[in-house]
Symmetry: C2
């Protein structure tokens, strides 16, 4: 008899019909004899409806009150799911974050889980009752209702799975697993049966938005096997866990990409240690995320400094740069807001330097020039002109032999 934590996202419980379908699935799993804990998101659209209400009242609603408002979304979906299970003769109880003893810090709107006590959940499981837990919410030590930020229901599920030492944390979503790349770009993309936590971290942060990165990090830290699967189909999905036999891992597991990138370059700034900080501080102080950063010494004592931001932040970042450029005596600011980022990811590349050369060779053969490069242990990213995105993804997918074997 196994213990599974099953998390269903907003689209999976987006209507009463879908709630009924998910109830069927939970009832089947329960009747098979396994123990189940369910974690739910709000019905799709509900959180946005509540946020709109808040913003109609106040331009910048207090985060404490916003937490209290938006957490009602999950409270509604868990109550309805418990009712749908009762109708099927299944014992179930809707459980709020604090009833599930999810203790967080007090950073409203982006609280972190500090501890999950298991008394209440184990008690219910012992009585044969399925706990239907509200995702995304917890309570702080001072008794305040908190939320974990968007997508936080995944984190709730993983934290509960870790605390209960569940056999698997199953994230039901509207895709049937993690793919080698986006099938809308490369129809030959293949669903992976298995992927490591490290690879999933790189893939999810790079735009394969199947799982919240924080929940993957959490699952990795507590070694909770994580499975992504479809709430509509019957496949096995993709299992995310630590690499069990590193001999057989492929060099490259997947190709990720981000559209809508923009780059900014300060040409001819002093080649000094504190220049990067002077350039980036005003950018990050304005809440703009910086992605790739490249620094190149051109002539002695002189350097070019380049970084990328999301295209939406491009104008603001450019405006923020101009006083800095003047102060640093830069020759000029070069900019390009027509870029994208393509990354190859794989734990196998740790021990193999050939990946980078094959990547550049492939792109070169297609006449795609690389504007920027950044690398990590298991990832190589390049910024290229956005018009080449699909071509780059498809040619890399093929070069690293990722398609379904026929």
């Amino acid at each position: 008899m196994a213990l599974y934590v099953q998390k269903f996202g907003g689209t999976s419980v987006g209507s009463l019909e879908r709630i009924e379908a998910v109830a069927d699935r939970i009832a089947r799993a329960s009747r098979s004899g396994d123990k189940i804990v369910v974690v739910l998101s709000a019905m799709a659209g509900e959180t946005n409806r509540l946020l709109n209400l808040a913003h109609s009242v106040a331009a910048e609603p207090d985060p404490r009150e916003l937490d209290m408002l938006v957490s009602t979304g999950e409270q509604i979906s868990i109550s309805l799911m418990a009712m749908a299970l009762h109708k099927r003769g299944i014992s179930a109880q809707a459980i709020l974050g604090d009833q599930a003893q999810i203790l967080t810090n007090d950073h409203h709107g982006k609280a972190r889980i500090q501890h999950v006590a298991t008394d209440n959940l184990n008690n219910l499981l012992g009585l044969g009752i399925i706990p239907i837990v509200a995702g995304f919410q917890g309570r702080s030590e001072s008794g305040q209702l908190t939320t974990l930020g968007r997508g936080g229901s995944d984190t709730t599920a993983v934290a509960i799975a870790a605390a209960l030492k569940a056999d698997e944390c199953q994230i039901y979503t509207d895709v049937d697993g993690v793919y080698t790349t986006d099938p809308r770009v490369e129809p030959k993309a293949r669903k992976m049966d298995f992927i490591t936590f490290e690879e999933m971290m790189e893939l999810s942060s790079l735009g394969a938005k199947v799982l919240q990165i924080r929940s993957v990090e959490y699952a990795g830290r507590y070694n909770v096997p994580l499975r992504v699967l479809s709430s509509f189909g019957d496949g096995e999905g993709t299992l995310i866990m630590y690499d069990q036999n590193s001999d057989k891992v492929p060099l490259v597991s997947g190709i990720a990409f981000n559209r809508d990138e923009a780059s900014l370059t300060l040409v001819g700034v002093p080649d000094e240690a504190n220049v990067a900080a002077q350039i980036l501080t005003p950018i990050s102080d304005s809440g703009i995320d910086v992605d790739m950063i490249v620094h190149t010494t051109t002539v002695a004592g002189c350097a070019d400094f380049t970084f990328t931001v999301h295209r939406n932040d491009f104008s603001q970042a450019k405006a923020l740069l101009s006083p800095v450029a003047k102060k640093l005596g830069a020759q000029h600011v070069k900019s390009d807001n027509g870029l994208c980022k393509v990354s190859v990811v794989g734990v196998g590349m740790k021990n193999h330097s050939g990946v980078a050369s094959r990547m550049f060779q492939t792109l070169g053969q297609e006449g795609i020039s690389v504007q920027l490069i950044s690398t990590s242990e298991i990832k190589i990213s390049v910024a290229i002109e956005e018009k080449y995105l699909e071509l780059a993804v498809r040619s890399l997918h093929s070069a690293f032999d990722l398609a379904e074997k026929t």
Copy 2:
């Protein structure tokens, strides 16, 4: 400096515009230097929306899960109100039932408040923060979220006022006070400045649906002065408290009425002690409320037994009676589903027998025949044909001199 508990009902917070208007009112009260605790209902319509959701999922939703579902309505209104007050520079915090330490028994859907601890609320008041408390909800000792039943927000307000020893519990509603009768029936109806708890209990149970009867009972028991006033206007409303100088009280304070009554009479049943129980047990076992009950001995050992029910329950009650009638050897069952009930209410009538005679004289002069009579210490009710309702109310209103003095 006074301490007021101010409760705003569903229509008072029924839209974002109304929430803003109520926030203005609370801000004014707060700036005047008084300490305020606010209790809110759900936005009008929201509770019904949630109930409809529940009933789409299950014909008879579990009361525990239903409590968790419908309590989100108040959670939404308190969060929005706190935001609206922040916008006005007022310190306020939305407070859930359990955060306000409202301990109830575990009768889901109709829980009773057992205790209100004041630590959290007093702490907030001490910090100059207005607590915006979710009405209608509490927590049981075992940590379950409970609701007090419809209209329970009034009870929440009174319970908090009692626990905090507030100077007044102010119930803001869409009427500007308690009237001598329904102004839609008698345009000369007069708003009362003052009424006793006992009178209000009789008036609210009889259909002047301004306040929940349970909250009036609670206020009376803990001697909390209760004021009903309009959330839209600026009047003083009606103050409900114990009679301070009983010399000046009027004989009759108001005329209440209920439409849609029906009567059922078993003619010729044995005049024995256990007959009433045999007749009424199947009725009450089916959840049908019985109102007036009259038992008349006709000839020796023989009696007629009459009771009234709401017209909606008439057919079911009649069907339930026929086996009982057969068993008791009744001659036949007489029924009338075209009745209404009119009551005169007033603490002054305790010491004055003339009220009944003036009432019957008045009705007789108008040619209205009385079908049934029931009396309590401060109330006389009659069942009459419904077509005479308006005439009866207006003539009694005039006979007891209740109209505004000009």
